[in-house]
């Protein structure tokens, strides 16, 4: 196990380096520059700005210096768009926000989703099943960019219970709506995957054997059926977790949370090179970690899988 983890970490480093290089090249070939606006500035002014940020150096030198600073000093450089901030600042401010609502949404989606899927499978073709399936289909066809405005309309404008946006230092009332908006469609997916996987397991020979032995129903489901049924769910949860905690542009856009998803998209549109790279590396590192965790969980759940 330890050897496996170390091996995976050793592969992760070159993966991240390749990610940096590819992002860097893509950024450089995209037209435009971080300092262009509707108003063109005189060349002398632009030259000064480029010199200030080292953009006048050859591209390879910029890349080498960037990688050096990231690896040895953990410094992602200054943001070109927010001229009074560093990329470290932007990540330090935005990531905790995103992580907070993302983690809550992840917890809610996976716990409720799995529970709903299990119940629907066990009580197949009952009204409970129909209700659960009906709910998941409904939740899935309403994307979060539709869900978010509906939530605000109902809970902010009509009922006046919750604020329609802002973060307010993570006050619970500001967290609720983003969590619901982000969680619902994932929840529906998780419930659907759990249900079909559970149904497959429940129809397998060893479950029939367990039942034939006279084991009580709850023991059959929890002890024998649930674990294998969760395998496909877990492989789905890995990337979902990363997707959720690194932020959703839609959630950030509608709820003005100050999260990192909006910063990521903005930096790409404004060619804020250093911020794009910083957030890309963060996302890459999180994805690699999440995949590793999924693999470990797999081995833990299914002893047939050797690491």
């Amino acid at each position: 196990m330890i050897a496996f983890i170390l091996r995976r970490l050793a592969v992760a480093i070159p993966t991240l380096l390749v990610l940096i290089v590819i992002s860097f090249i893509l950024m450089k070939v995209a037209p435009g520059n971080p300092f262009a606006g509707e108003k063109s500035v005189p060349q002398a002014v632009l030259d000064n700005i480029f010199a200030r940020y080292g953009l006048d150096k050859p591209a390879w030198q910029q890349l080498v210096e960037y990688v050096y600073n990231v690896v040895f000093r953990f410094d992602f450089g200054p943001s070109f768009q927010y001229r009074d901030r560093t990329v470290n600042d932007i990540i330090a401010q935005g990531f905790p926000v995103t992580f907070t609502y993302g983690a809550w949404a992840f917890l809610a989606a996976s716990l409720i989703g799995i529970a709903l899927g299990v119940v629907a499978a066990v009580k197949q073709n009952s009204w409970l099943d129909y209700l659960a399936v009906g709910f998941t289909i409904g939740a899935q066809v309403v994307p979060n960019f539709v869900m978010a405005p509906i939530l605000v309309l109902v809970f902010t404008l009509w009922l006046g219970w919750l604020p329609g946006g802002g973060w307010n230092g993570g006050h619970w009332s500001n967290v609720v709506l983003p969590v619901i908006a982000l969680a619902t469609s994932y929840l529906a997916n998780i419930a659907r995957i759990t249900r079909s996987s559970m149904l497959e397991v429940l129809n397998s020979n060893y479950i029939r054997t367990a039942r034939a032995k006279g084991l009580p129903s709850h023991q059959v489901i929890i002890k024998h059926a649930l674990r294998p049924a969760l395998l496909p769910v877990i492989s789905y949860l890995g990337p979902v977790f990363v997707g959720m905690v690194t932020g959703s542009v839609v959630i950030d856009l509608y709820f003005s949370t100050g999260g990192i998803g909006q910063a990521f998209v903005n930096s790409a549109l404004n060619r804020d090179y250093s911020t794009i790279l910083g957030i890309t590396i963060l996302l890459g590192a999180l994805t690699i970690t999440a995949n590793l965790v999924v693999d470990i969980l797999y081995a833990w759940i299914d002893p047939k899988i050797k690491l």
Partner: protein
């Protein structure tokens, strides 16, 4: 995203001599007998684009509204856009308008209690042009005429050679490279605000963080969370603090206009923009809260006038004229935009101070006449429905731009048989394509930087950085040079506009309007300022 609102907040109004300036400083003008609201918090909706709160770095209109609250220049812009004294109590100017001497008021203080001195302005202005600061707006100091500014930006002179000096702590002298009767109007622009040298040097780029910042405006920064909100509270050290009513200002980021409207209805913001196309309905529903005021910008199509123009048809002035005439502006402003915009046939905004908009021939014709003339010109040029012209038009991705492009392509198709292909692209890509002159026809827009017509008309200069058309006409360049020295530049401006209209280097479409909702208890908004430079210190909220 950087939007077309990249106007720097700028002093403005009638281009009259400085003697016309009012002498009393402006503050919240609360009529006697008014019952003020218990909670004096003004909440203003912004897009996610609040950048550096550094006066010498700031470049966009919304961040400028924050910077104007945290810092104060020599003059502010008043309710009607005319300059009113800020840090400066008064000023004198020499006979040919080249040397300005400002008297700084004794009561002006920084938020840490230190007095504001002439040296703070000298430091800030030198900082603005210093290549080490690398400010996008460095060129602004040269634009308004301060001696040596351009050379310092270009690196051929040093910042200490800038034409600004402190005679003593309370007297500032500015020397200009050309005669400028409107110089005082530029002083409410953030680039020319003072900066606290000790704080800037101590904290570097982090000096504008809430825990470090020292300002001299009516408010002090208490929170700055990008993407969420900026909060500023009343500054007890501000020289005119006794007249401030609003206790706290919040700039709330709401990127989506419909979400902004919902939150405005829920009472979470005091002011928000009206989503495109909803103005007529909202005006009918909430007539007292829905406003449309002229905005200092012009929407137009740029024609590539260089030899790189790949479209032979567009090289023919008759074709350009025909296309220009066939655009029915009334349909665009009344049918598509529906927010109080006005049709444009020339470039400079009609409400520019001291400017008389020339009568462009096309503007006085009926649309039927224009269409008939357009068909005639197109036929003369050898094009028609049997031999259609094909045009490639580019614009940056946006629903509003797409609607306009679609409507215009329909007009051209029906009237002139023109096949127009539309290509949308990212804003940065559009900027690049326009700048490199590798397009045929492109969307464009311009917002005035200061309230004098040269802020628009000088774009027709062949040397202008903003001349995306690559339009070069020796007469136009000559008239623009003469206008700088003329006591009344209007006839020259009119000549330039007429010439550009004749050459059809641009196709003006409409003049902008700012369309917004405002809570009815908010008072003191500068509706009469075409640049909408608002100051929370001049506002107040009444009890309802």
């Amino acid at each position: 995203m950087k939007n077309q609102n990249l106007i720097a907040a700028f002093g403005l109004a009638a281009l009259l001599a400085s003697s016309a300036l009012s002498t009393g400083a402006l503050a919240a003008q609360v009529p006697e007998g008014t019952t003020l609201a218990a909670e004096q918090v003004f909440k203003y909706r912004v897009l996610d684009n609040i950048n550096a709160l550094d006066p010498q770095i700031v470049e966009d209109v919304e961040t400028s509204s924050v910077v104007r609250s945290l810092f104060e220049g020599l003059y502010n812009s008043g309710a009607d856009g005319n300059p009113v004294p800020g840090v400066a109590e008064s000023h004198t100017v020499n006979e040919d308008n080249t040397v300005y001497t400002f008297k700084i008021r004794d009561t002006a203080k920084w938020s840490n209690g230190d007095p504001v001195t002439a040296g703070d302005f000298v430091y800030a202005w030198q900082r603005a042009v210093d290549p080490a600061t690398a400010s996008n707006y460095a060129y602004f100091v040269g634009l308004v005429g301060v001696v040596n500014a351009d050379d310092i930006v270009a690196g051929t002179k040093t910042p200490d050679q800038l034409g600004v000096k402190a005679i003593d702590d309370k007297t500032l002298e500015v020397t200009l490279s050309f005669s400028s009767p409107w110089f005082v109007r530029s002083l409410s622009h953030a680039t020319l605000f003072p900066a606290p040298k000790a704080v800037v040097e101590q904290f570097g780029i982090e000096w504008t963080k809430p825990e470090n910042i020292v300002g001299n405006g009516a408010y002090v920064l208490t929170e700055n969370t990008p993407g969420e909100r900026v909060v500023a509270k009343r500054n007890p050290n501000y020289w005119d603090n006794e007249h401030t009513v609003i206790e706290e200002v919040q700039w709330l980021t709401i990127n989506d206009e419909n979400q902004g409207l919902t939150r405005w209805r829920a009472g979470e913001v005091d002011q928000t923009d009206v989503p495109a196309g909803q103005y007529p309905a909202l005006k009918a529903e909430l007539p007292d809260n829905t406003y449309s005021v002229p905005q200092f910008c012009t929407y137009y199509f740029s024609v590539n006038m260089t030899d790189k123009q790949p479209n032979e048809g567009l090289k023919d002035v008759k074709v350009r004229e025909a296309l220009n005439l066939a655009i029915d502006r009334d349909v665009i402003v009344n049918g598509v935009l529906q927010g109080g915009q006005t049709p444009a046939f020339s470039f400079a905004h009609p409400l520019t101070a001291g400017y008389t908009m020339p009568e462009i021939p096309a503007s006085t014709m009926t649309q039927a006449d224009r269409d008939a003339k357009a068909v005639e010109l197109m036929t003369e040029a050898g094009y028609g429905k049997d031999k259609p012209l094909t045009i490639n038009y580019i614009y940056n991705t946006s629903e509003a731009h797409k609607k306009i492009a679609t409507v215009v392509s329909q007009m051209w198709k029906e009237k002139l048989g023109v096949n127009m292909s539309l290509a949308d692209m990212e804003f940065q890509t559009l900027l690049d394509t326009r700048h490199s002159k590798t397009y045929e026809l492109a969307r464009n827009a311009w917002c005035g930087d200061y309230n004098e017509a040269s802020t628009f008309i000088s774009l027709h200069d062949s040397k202008s950085e903003q001349n995306d058309q690559g339009y070069a006409n020796a007469d136009v360049d000559k008239w623009l040079a003469e206008a700088k020295l003329a006591s009344d530049p209007n006839p020259l401006y009119a000549q330039v506009e007429q010439q550009v209209a004749t050459d059809v280097a641009i196709m003006p479409i409409y003049f902008y309007a700012k369309v917004f909702m405002q809570s009815s208890n908010v008072k003191g908004w500068p509706f009469d300022d075409v640049e909408q430079n608002w100051y929370a210190k001049d506002m107040y909220k009444v009890a309802e």
